[in-house]
């Protein structure tokens, strides 16, 4: 018990901050704590959570993935194009997911086997994928008319639980389980802690490092197909704002960009925090120009709480 408490200190601090925020919001705005708004928050945060979980793995190894935002955009365009060309929704989804696997694979290859810096590699794939997102449809955005496709996001594999919630929860729990309880998960941390020591220990450094980039790309693509399914629309700029948000989510959730630390719960809570603030400023009706300042200051307070809780132990 104490152990859970101490090893999830940051996560608990962020969770407390989120709850406090929501309660404050509930006092200020009548409808904030309704089921409807909470499920809106869940829906709004789902793609970011999924993307952040992928980025988390890369960050734990000491890397970074800037390409996720444009993988998100490109995946949407590819999926939309496939659907509009008459492929069925399963095949189209698979094609979309392939985008993430391919770009993640390129990232992983260049970082792992060529030895280029992750920042540079993923900046390059970011630019290339963003550019391809326009090229594939010559800049046109795509409406998705297949009503069944909506089920990917909003259907219910388990009665009463919309799929996007199910996917998020399962992904976060599985990732957290892998990171904590599966040997390969521990290796992810080991590589971020000391690549050289990890290699000498016999840990398959190359394989793991390559894999985290592939998983990160796949998560970004998965986030995208869910999002496309939800809004029935694919747009070349859809993921633009998400890259920085995903990295921010991971870091707010306690991961260090130097590698070796971080948790899937943290990534989830970081992403949720960002969405909750966004929802809050909109509900309160804060002037758009002020939203950046308010968001910034709320995040500052949240990380200060975390900081204070660490200093006091």
């Amino acid at each position: 018990m104490m152990r859970i408490f101490s090893s999830y200190r940051t996560e608990i601090a962020i969770a407390v901050a989120i709850v406090v925020l929501e309660l404050a919001l509930g006092i200020l705005v009548p409808n904030a704590l309704t089921f409807g708004n909470i499920s809106d928050i869940a829906q709004a945060s789902a793609p970011l959570i999924i993307m952040a979980v992928g980025v988390l793995l890369v960050v734990i190894t000491g890397g970074i993935d800037l390409s996720v935002g444009s993988i998100f955009s490109l995946t949407g365009m590819v999926t939309g194009l496939a659907m509009n060309s008459g492929y069925n929704s399963v095949l189209s989804t698979i094609l979309g997911l392939l985008v993430g696997v391919v770009f993640g694979g390129i990232n992983g290859f260049l970082v792992t086997f060529v030895g280029l810096a992750p920042f540079v590699v993923t900046l390059i794939t970011y630019a290339v994928a963003a550019s391809l997102a326009f090229i594939v449809t010559n800049g046109h955005s795509l409406p998705i008319n297949d009503q069944n496709y909506y089920l990917l996001n909003g259907g219910t594999l388990i009665p009463g639980v919309p799929n996007f919630v199910l996917f998020c929860v399962v992904l976060v729990i599985v990732t957290e389980f892998v990171l904590r309880r599966v040997v390969a998960g521990r290796w992810v941390y080991a590589i971020g802690s000391s690549t050289n020591a990890a290699r000498l220990l016999g840990i398959p450094v190359h394989r793991i490092r390559f894999s985290v980039y592939v998983v990160s790309g796949l998560c970004a693509s998965f986030a995208s197909v869910l999002s496309v399914s939800y809004i029935s629309n694919a747009e070349g700029t859809a993921g633009e704002a998400m890259m920085l948000q995903a990295i921010a989510a991971v870091v707010i959730g306690g991961a260090s960009l130097f590698g070796g630390t971080g948790s899937a719960f943290g990534a989830l809570l970081g992403a949720l925090m960002i969405t909750v603030i966004q929802n809050g400023v909109n509900l309160i009706g804060i002037n758009s120009f002020w939203q950046g300042s308010v968001t910034g200051l709320v995040i500052l307070v949240a990380v200060l709480i975390d900081r204070v809780s660490k200093a006091r132990r």
Binding site: R181, V182, R186, Y189, S194, R199, G202, G259, G260
Partner: protein, 501 residues
């Protein structure tokens, strides 16, 4: 009651880390013109006290005087800032800067001053030349990150020696030096002490060095001074070991020995190890202990070849059914070839991971585990108790352990695993006398069970005591001689490694 004559006078120092009471009223005093040995077991609190003295760690209580003034007053604080230099146990080097900069940069106090490279080169050369002239001559412009641990240690010591400090605190400075380098360091220390009346505090787990260089000693046990400022000549080795609380180290077969029990007696099917291309054939069979002696270059390259970390041009190894050796450390580990390094920071420790992951890392790979099993908690506990490691929890980070204790974690990785071959790279670096004895016993048990042991040590007594065969390397990294059985004496080793004074 501060004695005016003491350079450093610490009284009743207390320090706790959470529930761990490390220092419980420790007294420690150093006079000018003495080499003062500071002794105690792993985790006794030596490094903690030295860090408190050097103002790196805050004390909870007690008084601290430097040169007759309390360090809580401006005068004393200034005197300490000017007059003290410390070599930390875990090296404090700046890997991206050059050797000259590492030595000279701390002596600049004004940020806007120009860094005088030529002067720094000269200082570095003269400081390093005190210990190793060869290294000194070509080292100044190299990046410290590209140096071996030994070379980095010399840089640290050179920095302290050239600081002009009146009190030198050397926390296990010789663990990373070869015997010859250590001898030269001692000569320098003796000269400085007699010529300039500085005080030197020297921490070591090597009894012989203590006898060689120290005048007086203080022994810390249970957070207090078990012996305070006693001339070393008044204590026998047995007294010292007993006072440190490590009486077991005196008996030939360890009595506190839960440790050997950690090695199952099941026979290991060990491969023969053949090494070709060194100029003469080397071949050892299962159960043999092959020692590697000499300056780091040679042994380290051979070790990297043995564990599959890097090829060594011209040298071919044959390990049992692996006629070409191993292509990666992973292949070696999966073939149950173990590796334990004393270079904790770079080659051993996963410092962001808790103790349990560090101890069980090898086992997970050897046993091809997929899941972190529930059994692991029990295994971690048994390893901790076998090595009598006192950790607040196996979920703590290794950085909360003392240096020698961290080393035990790395050794623990290959206990109970019955490796077919075990490659040890200064495995007892920083480990206290009692535990070292236990480890020797353990290695013997493993060898008896059939494991082939390859052991590189710069502590020649270790090699003499343990090895069946020793391969000597010269300072240039070339293999020189192969010694067998009774040929293995300190004299022959000194000759083989080119370290005969």
């Amino acid at each position: 009651m501060a004695d005016k004559g003491f350079l450093l006078d610490a009284r009743g120092i207390t320090k706790s880390y959470g529930p761990t009471h490390v220092l419980r009223g420790m007294d420690f005093a150093v006079a000018p013109g003495e080499v003062h040995a500071f002794l105690g077991g792993n985790g006794a609190g030596k490094s903690t006290l030295l860090k408190i003295v050097a103002d790196v760690v805050n004390r909870d209580g007690g008084t601290l005087n430097f040169d007759g003034h309390s360090v809580d007053e401006p005068q004393g604080a200034a005197a300490r800032a000017r007059g003290l230099a410390i070599v930390h146990q875990e090296l404090a080097v700046l890997p991206h800067l050059t050797v000259a900069e590492n030595i000279e940069l701390p002596h600049y106090h004004r940020g806007l001053a120009l860094f005088d490279r030529r002067a720094a080169d000269r200082t570095a050369l003269s400081a390093l030349a005190l210990i190793d002239r060869d290294f000194a001559e070509h080292a100044a412009h190299r990046l410290v990150g590209d140096l071996s641990l030994h070379e980095q240690q010399m840089v640290e010591i050179a920095r302290a020696l050239k600081s002009g400090a009146r009190l030198l605190l050397l926390d296990e400075p010789t663990t990373n030096l070869t015997a010859g380098e250590a001898q030269r360091l001692f000569a320098v220390l003796r000269r400085l002490v007699s010529e300039t009346e500085i005080g030197v505090v020297f921490v070591s787990h090597r009894m012989r060095e203590i006898r060689q260089v120290a005048d007086v000693c203080t022994i810390i046990r249970d957070g207090v001074a078990a012996v305070h400022r006693k001339p070393v000549t008044e204590l026998t080795d047995a007294d010292i070991v007993e006072l440190m609380g490590q009486a077991s180290a005196l008996t030939e077969t360890p009595v506190g020995g839960e440790l050997p029990a950690a090695v199952s007696a099941a026979h290991v099917d060990a491969p023969r190890l053949k090494i070709e291309g060194l100029g003469f054939p080397v071949e050892v069979g299962g159960g043999a202990i092959l020692g590697l002696a000499g300056a780091p270059a040679g042994p380290q390259a051979l070790i990297d070849l043995l564990i599959g970390a890097a090829p060594l041009p011209g040298v071919v190894i044959r390990i049992g059914d692996h006629p070409q050796g191993y292509r990666s450390p992973r292949e070696a580990v999966r073939d149950k070839v173990g590796f334990v390094s004393g270079d904790r920071a770079n080659r051993g420790m996963l410092s962001a991971l808790p103790i349990i992951d560090n101890m069980l890392a090898s086992r997970r790979i050897v046993e091809r585990r997929v899941l972190v099993s529930g059994k692991e908690a029990a295994q971690a506990r048994s390893l901790l108790s076998a090595l009598s490691i006192k950790a607040s929890s196996y979920w703590a980070l290794p950085s909360s352990l003392s240096g020698g204790t961290q080393q035990k974690l790395i050794i623990a990785r290959w206990l109970q695993l019955q490796p077919r071959m075990l490659v040890l790279e200064e495995p007892t670096r920083g480990v206290d006398i009692g535990t070292k004895r236990d480890i020797y016993a353990l290695i013997r048990v493993m060898a008896q069970a059939g494991t082939t042991i390859v052991w590189w040590s710069t502590e020649q007594t270790e090699l003499v005591e343990l090895c069946d065969t020793v391969l000597g390397f010269g300072p240039d990294g070339r293999a020189t001689q192969l010694l067998h059985g009774a040929e293995i004496t300190e004299e022959r080793l000194a000759e083989a490694t080119g370290m005969a004074a």
